[in-house]
């Protein structure tokens, strides 16, 4: 299943719903473009929902990190929502679990943005 990325607004938080594969040549570039577009439009509170992401490779993981550093570098906040077991395990292996703020409840995640 190839990647799809859509966005929706919940209050002042933009939720990015990703699904399918976030890999080199597929979802990775889509995710980068989407986050850049959001920043360009002035959105600084971004919640990436990975609940339907069934596969991610090191490029996809790297893209999440790049999005995080780009957003925080522009005084924004980027958080993750609904990790599948596979993504959760890979973030633990790469020790990125400590870098990202991760939520499993969307309403609470939205409220957590300052």
């Amino acid at each position: 299943m190839s990647a799809t990325i859509t966005t929706r607004q919940v209050g002042d938080v933009t939720v990015v719903d990703a699904s399918g594969k976030i890999t080199l040549g597929e979802g990775s570039a889509m995710l980068r473009d989407q986050v850049r577009n959001l920043l360009g439009a002035g959105n600084r509170k971004i919640l990436i929902n990975l609940g339907e992401v069934n596969y991610i490779d090191s490029s996809g993981i790297g893209e999440l990190v790049s999005c995080f550093t780009t957003v925080t570098g522009q005084s924004g906040q980027l958080k993750l929502l609904n990790l599948t077991k596979r993504v959760h395990d890979l973030l633990q292996i790469t020790k990125l679990y400590t870098v990202f703020e991760i939520h499993d409840d969307e309403a609470k995640a939205v409220r957590s943005f300052s």
Binding site: T23, L24, G25, Y55, D57, S58, S59, I61, G62, E63, V65, S66, F68, T69, R86, L90, I93, T94, K95, L96, V99
Partner: protein, 139 residues
Amino acid sequence: MPGTLDTSLESNLESVNKAEALCVDACKQIGLDEDGCMDLGLAVREAMINAVAHGNKYDTAKQVRLILESRADSLRITIIDQGDGFDLNRVPDPTEGDNLLRGSGRGLLLIQTFVDEFTVKKTIGGGAEVTLVKYTISD
């Protein structure tokens, strides 16, 4: 089912996907479970990305050789590129310090996590030859 597949692939992303799919098929044939197949498929994907992108730099004149050896107790995958090779000991640890926030450099960590043996050699031509081994029966 024991057997060997030895093929040359072009230096592009299609080859990465093809190698991963071939590996997952071979995993199923030797009886690895679904998670095991996905893990080893990811390891092969990462090794192929290294070969295609970092080794051959997507040069259409260069090939990646993929050798899949199915044995009774293991699957051995060898990937050979025509780049400049690399020294595993000189690759930065992506989990340390500032490396944690880099946008790349995690492929080798994932490979080493998901295989039982991982070796890197330099070929006579100067490219990298990496071998991944996964055993079906653990001690």
